[in-house]
Symmetry: C2
Subunit: 235 residues, 2 copies
Amino acid sequence: MGRQHAERVDLAVSTVIFALRPSPDSDLMTLWLPLVRRIREPYEGRWALPGGWLSPEHDLETAARATLGRTTGLTPRYLEQLYAFGTLDRSADDTRVVSIVYWALVHADEAAQAIDSDNVEWFAVDDLPELAFDHRTIVDYAVWRLRTKMEYSRIAHGFLGETFTLAQLRQVHEAVRGCSFDPANFRRQILATGSLVDTGEHLTGTSHRPPRLYRYDTAVQPADHGPLTPSKEQA
Amino acid sequence: MGRQHAERVDLAVSTVIFALRPSPDSDLMTLWLPLVRRIREPYEGRWALPGGWLSPEHDLETAARATLGRTTGLTPRYLEQLYAFGTLDRSADDTRVVSIVYWALVHADEAAQAIDSDNVEWFAVDDLPELAFDHRTIVDYAVWRLRTKMEYSRIAHGFLGETFTLAQLRQVHEAVRGCSFDPANFRRQILATGSLVDTGEHLTGTSHRPPRLYRYDTAVQPADHGPLTPSKEQA
């Protein structure tokens, strides 16, 4: 390849930040993520995932949170390590970079308050521009992980408030899994999991038959983190 | 804490290598892993996971395979990235080390041929010595991931040959999940998944009613890696 070996390995931390926003073409909720326009080479002008070099004073999760705050002004409801990407050719020049990537979920109402600057823009996952480095591979992997995880855990919570209606929960599942559910079947199946608690309250200010509000049963521990201590901010 | 900040972050790759071996106390198969005795400070004399610094010429998986070969002489049937461990205090001195950890499964017959040297020894997961650094946390997390994964994927294959009896498959599930299954129920449930193919052959040289041999249906893709291209060696 004529490519010179790098003399050292540099370590970066990047984040894939998911939020639900309405599709521009319809009323359906779809998955969006913020990207940062690169202002220097390599890939100057291309869109990339928010991230930066790991400082020796920061642990990995702190670095991911700092990137997220700096880019979007948001605090994630769910933040988890995704994967470490470290193939030899993923940098455009002769440097060697390993990126430890985190993924985050933010609430729709938080995402609406997100900072929009000249160099940060939100894109629908189904309609991304060409990305720098191997960031398209990273996004594809993050979407796959989100969809897989939705099937066996309570990760949908990361997109919802403390209480929610079954219709809101169904919208999250539909947006992430890219399909639609029959409302009655969805209701029956999700209640059968035993993970929801009826709060006894109803959504106010809506129709003549206001829908019930549910919350996740916090007595049932999600198994996502196993023996690793989850951060306080995580669901 | 009076602890000085490190000037840079060093990157290591370590591996948790699982094999099934008979328990010393009974005929049951149990989980074992190899550890390496440290011959220098910090933690001189303590047992640690096999690993080493990441060289700029090696990608992450190549580094993990090299460690595995050097330590045990084995080629894994299953190798997957586990997690990147990077808290500030995980090194005993003022250095800052991020370890990207892989986990591997090797076959029982391969594990029997593994290199045993003065500084490498196999231990039962249920009876580990005190480990160096945060390696006990890493092992606990790897065991949890293995048990979780066993429930929804074909990862048991990593412990088995190309063909196997239902009793052998049940032994793998029992060893990993730390429980026992009624043979008839296990048979019914595992066949109902549709992931096994009856080879039409039988295990020879055994009883008067030799058991049938099965294989995994390779037409059904395991979803473990999603859009990331799995290595050829992986199941």
